[in-house]
Symmetry: C2
Subunit: 149 residues, 2 copies
């Protein structure tokens, strides 16, 4: 599986944490530990989906296009993943086989039902809530470090 969904989520959590200050692709790439080009390519998809906007020039970078409370994992997933990727299917069973020729439509129908369950679950989590979890983990980490010292 590719990591586009995970990296896109990573990007948006950073933007949420930035609280309105633009983040450059270089800054984000440093957090993700990849190169700015990949970030900009993903950002392009997020922008097309209406999740982010960008500002060029000095002090520029990316911003959330709407509040993190109103962006769910479903939005992220659908913006970076082309629809047909979750469950692959063999394209060309033997058309002369009375069983094989019916597998694709039957299998696809069940996979669509499955995918609906998955999308519904994704819609229950927002970028804002994930950013809050990240912040809480960081606070706990710092508190532990202080106690130990």
């Amino acid at each position: 599986m590719n990591t586009r969904f995970a990296v896109a989520t990573h990007i948006l959590i950073i933007l949420q944490a930035q609280q309105g200050v633009p983040a450059s692709s270089e800054l984000i790439a440093s957090s993700v530990n990849t190169n700015p080009s990949l970030i900009r390519r993903l950002m392009s998809q997020l922008a097309k989906a209406g999740l982010t906007t960008s500002q060029m020039g000095t002090g520029g970078g990316a911003l959330l296009a709407r509040p993190g409370e109103e962006i769910t994992l479903l939005d992220v997933y659908q913006s970076v993943d082309d629809e047909s990727s979750l469950f692959g299917i063999h394209a060309d069973p033997n058309p002369a086989c009375p069983i094989g020729r019916h597998i694709p439509p039957v299998f696809k129908a069940h996979m669509q039902a499955t995918e609906r369950a998955l999308l519904a679950e994704l819609a229950r989590t927002t970028i804002a809530s994930m950013a809050a979890e990240v912040a809480m983990n960081e606070n706990n980490l710092r508190a532990d470090a202080t106690e130990t010292a």
Copy 2:
């Protein structure tokens, strides 16, 4: 995405339709439209998971190890897909980044919840019911052909 899950399902539906008559990897490969080696590789995993058994020698082949009514898509999915494949994640965010270093655990937690929803949906469908759908589609096809003729 790979097609292992789809092909494994295809195999099991054929075995269900065989009603106890062993199916050779060559017969199955002809229906799937691939080579027998791939079928045998998948079958090996299905056998390890306890879904099928095999008989060598003349007239041999694969059989369902238990009734198709007691094999769900969840069983199939888990037997051919290594657990960590559904949602990929970038392995190494910057450990010095107070946000980036918390992304993997937070993301994984949500993906586990999502995957649970998916698995629950898969568990609702059996090989027997899918085989029945395939048979019904085939009957409809033949009925249409007769009417037209």
